[in-house]
């Protein structure tokens, strides 16, 4: 495309379909502690 460059796979919807296993790390949102935004967490689902 000339006007729009799509950067990523945009796969959020796909992730919902087989997501929610809960195996991923807890991700504290508070500024005082582990400082993670959720989006920097890794998915730990076994393939």
């Amino acid at each position: 495309m000339k006007h729009i460059k799509t950067i990523n796979k945009a796969n959020l919807k796909k992730s919902a379909a087989k997501g929610g296993c809960g195996k991923c790390q807890a991700s504290c949102q508070s500024a005082c502690k582990t400082s993670c935004t959720v989006a920097n967490q890794k998915c730990e689902r076994e393939a």
């Binding site: 000339k2 729009i4 959020l12 919807k13 807890a26 500024a31 890794k42």
Partner: protein, 457 residues
Amino acid sequence: MIHKYKLSGYNVLLDTNSGGVHIIDDLTYDMLDNVQPPFEDKCPDSIINKLSKVYDKEEIAECYNEIVSLYNDKILFAEDDYEKFALTSVASPIKAMCLHIAHDCNLRCKYCFASTGDYKEGRMLMSLETGKKAIDFLIEKSGDRKFLEVDFFGGEPTLNFEVVKQIVEYARSRESEANKKFRFTITTNGILLTDDMIEYINKEMNNVVLSIDGRKEVNDRLRVRADGSGSYDTILPKFKKLIAARGNDKDWYVRGTYTKYNLDFSNDVMHLFDQGFEQISVEPVMADPKMPYAITQADLPRIFDEYEELMKKITEVRKAGKFINFFHFMLDLDQGPCAIKRLRGCGCGNEYVAIAPNGDVYPCHQFVGIEDYKMGSLHDGSFNDELKNTFAAAHVYSKPECKKCWAKFFCSGGCNANNYIYAGDIHNAYKLSCEIQKKRLECAILMKALTMLDTAE
């Protein structure tokens, strides 16, 4: 829902519901102010007439077709169909715990959310008996979760280090029969660290959080001892020693707080980097707006500029072939957590709890000492499942401001404790925090997008 913004000479477009990130030209940027679904087969004359004052007509028609094509591919103006997952989500097993091993501290940091270590409950150390009960509680409540996280927190955990070691030993002794694997973290201000402690931490702790605010004058203004003297000169060499001896297979980071006193905090991030720390988190103080160091709405423009400055500095470091990781710019645009995880973020009070030294259970460390949020006690076996359910249902669709926010799948509703403390309810967004979060995300998305673009090309 879309969000578009201009930053560092780029136009960035995020499609909230698909997670799609696009770099767009000025024409697309302006056209998106004028179009939304449903789309027509050809660009409507009204749009061509409006935009042709600035842009070529053929280009306008072409751009319209590109937008429609992405819409048809469901990566632009994608539908929000996640609420059904949120509404059917149920309480989860508990998989993470913050152990308040010491409600006491050898520093008197002026901005401490924990009232300089005692959480307004009096100075107290956790006993081994309570620690063991906490491990038993976590195993019992963890269902089929194999990996269990325990964070030794305070106050200052090294004030009760022998009990830390004994709790680790106890947890390890239960791993095999319970089919669990513990991952430990310790957060320390570094004052008491000895060579033996460093060796132990590097062996047993999967993660270690080292508290330091940055430049000496910045750190020593607020991170002071009881006699008012600064901590920088004591902790810096110890932190250097710890990371030098730490294997590459284990996590660590230095973590600082910025306040109104150092709104030029990109200099503190770079100072920490220059001292040899490449894993860095520096975050805004959360405080009563009346405090002199508190960040207020009036500081936001300055803070936004500073994040842009930080983005430039980090980009320069990386261009020079060096590694630096700033936690709030960390983002995975492809392989990050699933949408379900993003609905309710940290899971406090649901998947995560905090245990006070006296064995009281709270939704997280920030709620410790707030009586209304006490969930139970390890010593009498009480546990408030109703409160757990309340937290399980605190997702982005039950938070009115989050529901309509473009950043909801990145911040996942923010910090429930901050929402409660500063906005009156766990479901109310704490606006100041939101504004800072959104700016960080805009920077993070652009940085990641440019990296991915470079790789692709």
